[in-house]
Symmetry: C2
């Protein structure tokens, strides 16, 4: 039995003990009792079955996708990829593992979550942690200086395997990035346009896209009197504002991170500001903030960004929000994050997994990204920089919303147009012949793998799997050179000549 | 520097030594020389660059897919998935890692090729080695007794990382399986129909599908006097017949595996036989073979299989070949393998990777599979069996053939229909506005991220990436409410009214 099986047994034994009025402290005493003293045989069997299921369960934190989940997943991917292609993106793929050292030093504290492969000889490898670092490595290695690419693939994080948390250790990321030296804010605006289009097309309810700029944040910290070496840690604290109150944030800044209370209060004033182009214009005239060159550069670009967003017709959803900070170190310019404002609550097991694929973010967050002009240079022997801006769609969050929506619905998991059936015995050969004709004409057709299936069970198969049409063969039909074409929903039946069957099916679905 | 970097440096140093007339034996003496004694500075620089590239290369045995390769890959997947869907298949996905013990004891000697994750706490995990074992685990765990599913995903094999071999350690498998208790040979025949359709649709040249049956092989071994405990090892030897001569095979049987020469000669007679239904009928009357119950069951099913294959219209490519053995232990009935008979030779680096996704097979092999009725039961606590038959498409082999074919061709890596361009300065805003109109109408459109790009560079971008149309804006066009629509290939230009532009673009591509 594997470790997990043992853990499960202990877990269940504890549960049983508690249910039987035994507290955990009396566990030693309890463990000396025989099973028959604490439960019925049928109960015991029940627990054994549960434990067996756990043993054969895929390791916690990963999941199988069943056909219904796959059908939903395919639909989501299709919507997103259609948008990426509409914007002229190419796609690449990279290996699931990278050299361990490629990932080293890129994720700060989170590096402990990287999955290493066992050293079985050969070089040391790790499973990819995100798609951004492999992308930067790919650009540097192939000396690519401009590309617009998307990449949808699984990444791996060795998270606390506590059973109750339900965070996935294998999950999809869905990234779109534009690399290249271009005029300011045009590709940045296109990334926001893409988020807007995808969230509109996925139909997840209303949403808001918050934007800010690392240079504005840094300038703000500078003019508020934050010491240079505290920028990043204060930035992390600000990043919590969408989850906790300003009081808690201020408390952390002052009491944990040693910031002067006046500095914190000044930050507090700025981070409560929200607006659009007008706010950028106002802040450019702000006597304090305008003293920071960095902030002014960021604010001027913010104005420009909103100009382009107006042309792209997406300003209805975009807000310039000074409290948006985002955790990752590598951002150098504009940053953004999309949140759903009226989504259905996610199940508890999903709450921990609401990340945009880059970092843990707030519950409603479904996309995030920004500009990172320095990362590619870290992989280039000469340190040549390739400016990049990109966005990551929080696709696991999208899956779980879509799965919840579809819970009550019937989702078709096949695309079969017609079932070839017979009402009488000994027509297997005729059924196979007709099915072949349909397949060879490009029709999606099924036939039951039985010599003499009952008509009822054939019709049931259609109803269960959503096949809309049945082509029924019988002696009479064969004699007349026709097929009885039945519409499952309406139960209507018409005779269609064999020669016209393909056209008739195409016409109907 | 990582291990690989060091290895590379030693490798290059040896190459240089050899080139300079120094044999490997004089390596010690050579290593004492200074670099300037053996090469020019420019040469030295060249090697340093090569070494740097290797260091930043993804670990050997895996590869990045660039946009051109991805475009080819997508086309191949699309063709194959269309076929699977035509046959009413669902799809599932499983995690990239399984519990180590799930994989243990399933692959015989090849178990040493399984990639284990490092024990960083939590349960012991391994990367999946194929898609069949996870499928069987999935069925048993979810108590699924019938399903028709496909699964396309990457699998991992820790192969000898010698640089010259070029075998991939990460590669795609593409599996289609039918699980369920059905009337004999109907799903088996459909698997062969699917192989036939896919190879036809992929247009890889002529092909042949060899079929045989484990029961016929075992019956043959029994009547030829092979001891029971030698069935599997003799079977492995027979499996080599597509690569080596009968003499070599006989030699291995007799001298290495201790089979009596007369037994080997009798096997030799059988395994030279090829035919179709007629051969199955002939062998059912064979005085020796007909004494084996097993063989008779296999031969009767082979007859039945050919009946169905005739109805499916695929007998032109299918051959009953008694020399087909296939390596895997878990097959229990029909087995098959498709080979290309006129494919272009693969590059040397590919030769080692010609496997159907299940095991190493002959160079021309592009698909393989068979019936495995016992595997699911290995994962069920009660050992309940679920009969399965399936096929694996050797998709990496298909990719490499397609890539070779496309080497000289230009393959489009985007689907962009139109580039929004301008001939004059200061029209960025107008370009963005028009692009937005097109995106919002579902047109795939690009715009260059420059304030004032030259018309020539805009046209060049279209020619390089294959964009067929350019929508050109100028002062005059804006005044007249039109757009100049240029066909890149013919250089024709027509004025199209702004209101009709979307329709016009849709009409043209």
């Amino acid at each position: 039995m594997n470790k997990m099986g043992m853990t499960s047994i202990r877990h269940f034994a504890r549960l049983i003990a508690q249910r039987n009025g035994l507290c955990v402290r009396s566990w030693r005493c309890f463990s000396a009792m025989t099973i028959s003293q604490v439960m019925q045989p049928s109960e015991f069997l029940h627990y054994i079955v549960l434990i067996m299921q756990l043993i054969f369960h895929p390791q916690q934190g990963t999941r199988d996708y069943n056909p219904k989940q796959m059908a939903i997943r395919e639909k989501v991917f299709d919507t997103i990829i259609r948008c990426f292609k509409r914007h002229g993106a190419e796609t690449i793929d990279t290996p699931v593992f990278e050299l361990k050292e490629t990932l080293t030093g890129k994720y700060g504290e989170d590096s402990k979550l990287i999955y290493d492969l066992k050293d079985q000889g050969g070089e040391l490898l790790s499973l990819r942690y995100d798609l951004t670092v492999p992308f930067a490595r790919y650009l540097a290695m192939n000396k690519i200086t401009n590309i617009k690419r998307y990449h949808i693939a699984k990444v791996y994080r060795r998270d606390n395997p506590a059973m109750t948390r339900g965070r996935y250790r294998e999950f999809y990321q869905c990234d779109f990035d534009i690399a290249g030296q271009y005029d300011p804010m045009i590709p940045d605006a296109e990334c926001l346009k893409i988020v807007h289009e995808i969230l509109r097309d996925l139909d997840l309810g209303d949403f808001r896209i918050k934007v800010n700029d690392r240079r504005i944040l840094d300038g703000m910290f500078a003019v508020c009197g934050v010491p240079d070496d505290k920028f990043r840690t204060i930035c992390s604290t600000v990043d919590k504002l969408d989850k906790v109150s300003w009081e808690d944030v201020k408390n952390e800044m002052v009491n944990e991170k040693g910031l002067a209370p006046e500095a914190a209060d000044q930050i507090g004033e700025y981070v409560s500001m929200q607006g659009r182009k007008d706010l950028a214009e106002k802040l450019l005239l702000d006597p304090k903030l305008s003293q920071s060159k960095q902030a002014c550069a960021g604010l001027a670009d913010m104005k420009l960004l909103f100009n382009y967003l107006e042309l792209f017709r997406v300003t209805d959803k975009v807000v310039f929000d000074l409290s948006l900070a985002r955790g990752l170190d590598y951002y150098t310019g504009v940053i953004y994050e999309a949140v759903l404002t009226q989504a259905a609550p996610a199940p508890v097991s999903q709450l921990q997994n609401d990340n945009t694929g880059e970092e843990g973010v707030s519950v409603g967050s479904v996309a995030g990204g920004g500009r990172y002009d320095g990362l590619v240079g870290m992989f280039d022997p000469k340190g040549r920089k390739v400016p990049c801006v990109g966005v990551s769609i929080g696709i696991e969050r999208v899956f779980s919303i879509m799965e919840q929506k579809a819970e009550a619905e019937k989702v078709r998991t096949t695309e079969t147009q017609v079932l070839v059936a017979s009402a009488q015995k000994d027509l297997l050969e005729e059924r196979l012949k007709l099915t072949t004709e349909l397949w060879d004409a490009g029709i999606k057709a099924e036939v039951m793998y039985k010599k003499n299936p009952k008509l009822l069970s054939q019709l049931q198969h259609c109803e269960e799997t959503g096949i809309p049409l049945v082509a029924i063969l019988g002696e009479q039909e064969l004699k007349n050179g026709v097929v009885k074409l039945r519409t499952v929903a309406s139960r209507e039946e018409v005779d269609v000549s064999r020669a016209e069957l393909v056209e008739e099916i195409k016409k109907r679905c």
